[in-house]
Each structure stands twice: as structure tokens, then as C-alpha cells.
Amino acid sequence: MNNELSNPDIPVPSELQSAVTITSLDKIYNWGRRSSIWPMVFGLACCAIEMICTAASRFDIARFGMEVFRATPRQADLMIVSGTVTKKMVPQIVRLFNQMPEPKYVMAMGACASGGGPFKEGYNVVSGIDKFVPVDVYVPGCPPTPQALLHGLIKLQEKIDGQSLKSVRWYGQETSEAVPVPVLGPDLFDPRQHALLAQQAGQVKENSESVEE
């Protein structure tokens, strides 16, 4: 058994050490999860190329138990948002996120996914995926080198290590809510801003009416 699991406060007789480990439930639960994070096959732009390079032999993501890229969100634990999120694509990304089962994690890889990056002022670009789905780890870079991506994945493992069965949301009383899928209208429309948008349009109307008067 892996030594990193055993609890030094509860000694195990030396003859049993090869077969027995005494540990906490949290620790073994997290150990299992952190060592087999399956990312989704989900490439958006330039960063996806570096993600593939990270998975290839030179940098070898398999060392961290993450080489099993899944083509369906329903088998994936981690969504690496690798590239510029555009308005035209964001409904699909939110839908994919909703289709992932809990526990699920999101990594914003690169400048674009984190905040819009060099394309931020573009009319079809979303200023970071965190405007729509919750992000666990941000990896800076344009694109981040494979080493930076691996560092981000290690940070995610640390985050998983810190979670406890008592408090994780997917075993709690409340069901996790799906993120409302944005709609493409005259511009991208977030259903959560319905009231705000209705009010803004009303204001414009009033203004134009007052001008006419």
C-alpha cells in the first residue's frame, strides 16, 4: 500500500505493513479521485494543441493518472477549457458542463479562457469562461506550456486533497443546479440576466419616448 495514505498516529505492526494501512475515509476517497482525474476530449483553440502535447510522450500526463481522455462529458471528471470561448460556442460549453456528473471540475487553460486574453475586446468573445461556469483552477499563459498545465493539474490535485466527504456538495442535501444555457439573440443572452435586460430595454424605450415628446 501507498505510504502516503497511512496515518502515523496509529502504528501498524511491521509484519502487517505490507498488507494493512489504517487511514481516514476522506483520505482514501480523495486519493482515489486525485489519481484518476479523467479529462474530457475538449479542445477549443491553440491551447488544445499544448494540451495534446502534454498528453503525448514527452510530457506524459499519464504520470498523474490523467491520460484517459473521455470523448463524452458523462464519463469525464475535468473539463479543461483550452482556448478562446466565443459567444457562438458558449451555449455548447455550458451544456457540456451540465452533462458532466458530479464531482466535476473546470480548469481555465490560458489567457482567453481565464479572462478573454488578447481577444477580449472582440465582439464574439466571452471575457472568460468563469462568467458562465465555476472555475477551479486558472492556468496563465498564451498558451501555457505543458509544464504550466501540469502544474495546474497538480494544483487541482491539492484542491481535491483538501475536500471532505462531510462537506462536498454532491453528497449534500441539495441537488446541484444546472447552469442556465445562454441563448444566441441579437447578442449573447444569459438567462440569469433576464430581469436586468428587460429593465434596460425599458429604460431605452422611455428615453426615446421622452425625446419624441
Binding site: A56, T86, Q92, V125, P143, Q200
Partner: protein, 592 residues
Amino acid sequence: MSDKDSSVVLPANEVVSNSIVARFDGEVNSDTREGYEGYIVNANMLPEVASVLKDELGYDYLSSVTGVDYIDEDHIEVVYHADQTTGGKGINIKVQLDRENPVVPTLVPIYPGADFQEREVFDMYGVHFDGHPNLRRILMWDGFHGYPLRKDWQEAYYEEDVKPFDSRWPGGDFKRSEADNPYGKNVNYPPGFDINNWAPETDDSLYESLQKTTSNGKSLHTDSIVVNIGPQHPSTHGVFRMVVALDGETITDLQPVMGYLHRNHEKIGERNTFLQNMPYTDRLDYLCSMSNNFGYALAVEKLMGVDVPERAQYIRVLMAELTRISNHMWAIGFLLNDLGAFQTPALYAIRARELILDVFEATAGSRMMCNYMRFGGLARDFPDKLRGEDTVQFITDLVENRLPKAIDELDHFLTENEIVRSRCIGVGVLPPEKAIAYSAGGPLLRASGVSYDLRTADSYGIYDRFDFDVCTRSNGDVYDRYLIRVDEMRESTRICQQVMRDIPGEGEIFSGKPQYNVRVPAGESYGRVENPKGELGYYVVSTGKTNPYRYHVRAPSFVNLTVLGELCKGHKVADAVVILGSIDIVLGEVDR
């Protein structure tokens, strides 16, 4: 000039002006604005002029269609660039249209390759192409408000017309654009937009436009179904969507849907200064950043009239050819992925590519986004050491031994592989006439037997000094498109070997004084290079200021997709994936 003997071969531009300006008296005029060339055609005569160009003068290849909004002169100009596949300089013709109601006859019946590019001009400028078979938005979605590339259209985060923005750093602190937007997001709605009385556009009209039946009607009756492949699908090489109508398992129609990675290069590019666009070109075809830089540098250098020092010329060619090898490695690896050889060949290909990336990283500072070329040279010279070895020795060893070995290895494992042969031979056949008509470029065109390569057809840089062949294959199927990439990698190593043999050991790599803000003389320029995927062209219009007035990218991947639907018809749905893989697209460039 005036007393030319008729037996003397006239320069191409005089032949053209004699035949079209004289024939279409008053309808076609030479473009006499300073810094401009080509001809201005009256909109109603465009199809006739295009027919003459194509059928009588041999301009059979329409490379680029784009628009420019000259808001001060109150017209929108549609610019066409056409070429002869036998080589030589291209020609450009322009049509000037009223901004309020721009209508121009479509060129799709004459040059089918205009299809997607006309749709792009419609999408960006609202120019209506009369008679176009499928005139709908291509990069943005149906229902989007406004025509983004018009000069009076402002994006949600609009600050000023051109950079550098004084508003960016108020009081020395960085300001987030979200703070100024009422929604806290990069969105903007038309005045009076009422969300309560509005329904989103659906894809119904797209699905209905597909041809659902096969023509013969003899086969077993099966239900026709429409399948969406993408935008999130492992085989689409990014965020690309194919809407496929199927009869059983046979494709009756296929309509590509794109724009899922439309990052507004052109709008941002027109706000940027000339030099600020250089790093953006890296992100077009992000597998080939070096050669993207090359094309843009050529376009602006043409306007500025600067010379490039000898050593820089050699390094440019070296980098462009290394890029070609790394791109084709990637393309072959992922074509095999699409064939079902999941990951293994790709891993071999990526291993070879990593060696090239090391050269890029050591020289330019970045593995992928090199941002290496400047107007008049390069950003920096080779470093002394690369992976602990002498740089020149490392690169020489790379192009003499390691890369040829890696290419031989791929060739050895794949070319005679039975599955590769049975899945690829005879699939997605593109006859040469059709390849030219649809403006296919690069390996796609040459695999069909058309020997057209800008490195020789309209030579740039110092390519005329090297001894290399333009590879062609004759069948135009997926297998030939694979083979041609192997051939081209071999030719590229040959060029690289000659570069390393002939390159001057020392010398300037930049002419003039490096500066952030270059002032570019007014005029237009179309700079182009033979990118690994085809002709990459930059159409740049300068008004003499520090920012480009128009910055258009003629992207090879985008234009090559025009023929995808034709190639896939009649094949099985699994072959569509392979045919797409053999075209080799990169979505950063398709959508820009």
C-alpha cells in the same frame, strides 16, 4: 510604351488592360488611386468581366474575396483577387457599392470557390450577393445584430477607434472593461430590444435546405436523417460542425457550419497598430505561426518598401520550412487518428514535431506563438546554444539526419499499411478542374495534379535560390493527400539543408531602426505565402497612419472547406471524418 509590336509578348497587366478596359468601355477602369492597382468594375458588368478573365485570359483561380468599408467616400468596395494556375502575378478587380443598399451579382456560378468568401462578406459587411445559392451568415449566427466590420459598427467593449487607447490606464491603474458595461459582460443589445417579445432563431431552415435523397431512387428505401457532427466532437479538429443528411449510412448532403472560434481578428486588427498585429497572426493557424508571420511581414514590407537583410532572408525560409514539416507531421498523425489508429501514429508525429518546437522556443522564445518576424527582418538571431549543443550544429543535424529519419519512419509504417490503403484509396476524389474551380489550395490542390505552389508560381523571399520540386500526385484522393504531405516534408528538408549550407555566418537580421510604431505609406497590398495548408494571403489597406485601415486574412483552411460538401457526397458517414482530416484544417484560421 505606346508603339509596341504586336508580336512582342506583352506584360500580363497590359494584356488584361487591353482586353478588358478596352472591351468594356466605361464599365471597367484602372484603379488610379495612389498606392492602388487593379481595375474597378461596375457591379452589373461583374459576371461578364469575370467570365472574360477566367475563360479568355486564364485567371482560373479566384483566390480571395473580401470587402472594405470606405466610410468617408461612402461606399463599400468588394475586392476580388484572381490568379492563373500556370503562375505569375495575380490580378485584382474591385466593385464599388452604395453603403445603404450594397448589391452585387454573385460569382459562384463562375468561380464556385467564391461561395464561403461571399458569405463572409455578407456576414461582415451586409453586402447582398444577388443569386448566391445559400446566402446566410457564416461566422456569426443568424439573428446577430449588425455587420461587425463596418467602420461605424462598435463592439460592446468599444473604447476608441485605434490603439493605443488613452482610456486603458486611467490614473495609472488598469481598468476592466466589464466595469463600463451595464451587463458586466461583453454584450450589447440594440436599442429597444424587448426580451419578452422575442424568440431565438432556430436551425430549421438550415436542416430544410439539405438535399435529402439520392438521385437514382433505385436503392432500398431508407429514412433520411440529419446528423450533427460537432461542434464538440473528437474528429472535427476543434470546434467545427458538419450538418450531414444521411440516406441509410450514405451522405446525401453535407453543410459545414463554422464560426465557433470566430475571434474577430479583423476587427481587432483594424484597431491595432501594424506591429501589434504580428502576435495575432501567430494565433490564426496556430500550428504554423512562423509562416503566418512571414505572410504578414511580406504584405506590410511591400507597402513600406523596406529590404530584408541576407541572413534574415535565410532564417525566414528555414523557419517557414520547419513549420511546414511540423504541420504535416501533425496532419498525418491526426489523419491516422481519424482513421481509427487512435493516438499511436500521432505520438510518433508529435515526437518529431517537438524537436522543431525546441528550435522555435530557443530562437523566438515560445514553442507555438513565435511572434518572430518584423517588417524588415527578424526579432532576434539564433541563440548560441540549443539544448546544450551549438545551435547551428543542432539544426544541421536536425535537417540532415533526425527529421529525414522521422519522415522515413512514418512512411515505412503507414504508406503500405493495408488499412490505410483500403480506407484512403479512392475516397474523397477531387478532380483537378474541380479543385481549381473551388479555389482549393496547398496539398489539396497539388494532390489533384495541379502543380501550383506560390513558392515557384509567384516566388517570394529568396525561394528562387533553392533547388526543390513542387510535388504533385495525380489521383486526388485521401491517400494522395497523405502521400503529398510526405513528399513535401522531404522537399522541405532539402530546402532546409540548402539553407544551412548557404546561410551567411554573420550579418544583420534587421534593416533600419526597430520601432514600435511604423508609419506605412497609403495604399493597398496583398502579401501571400504558400503556407502548409495553402495560400495564406493578407490584404492590407493603409491610409498612411500607424494603423491598418483594412486587415483581411485569406485563410487557406477556410477556403479549402468550400469543397468539403462536394467531396463527401455519396460516401459513408465514417469517410466524412477522414476526408475532413485529409483537408487538414485548423479552426483558428477557418474562423479567424
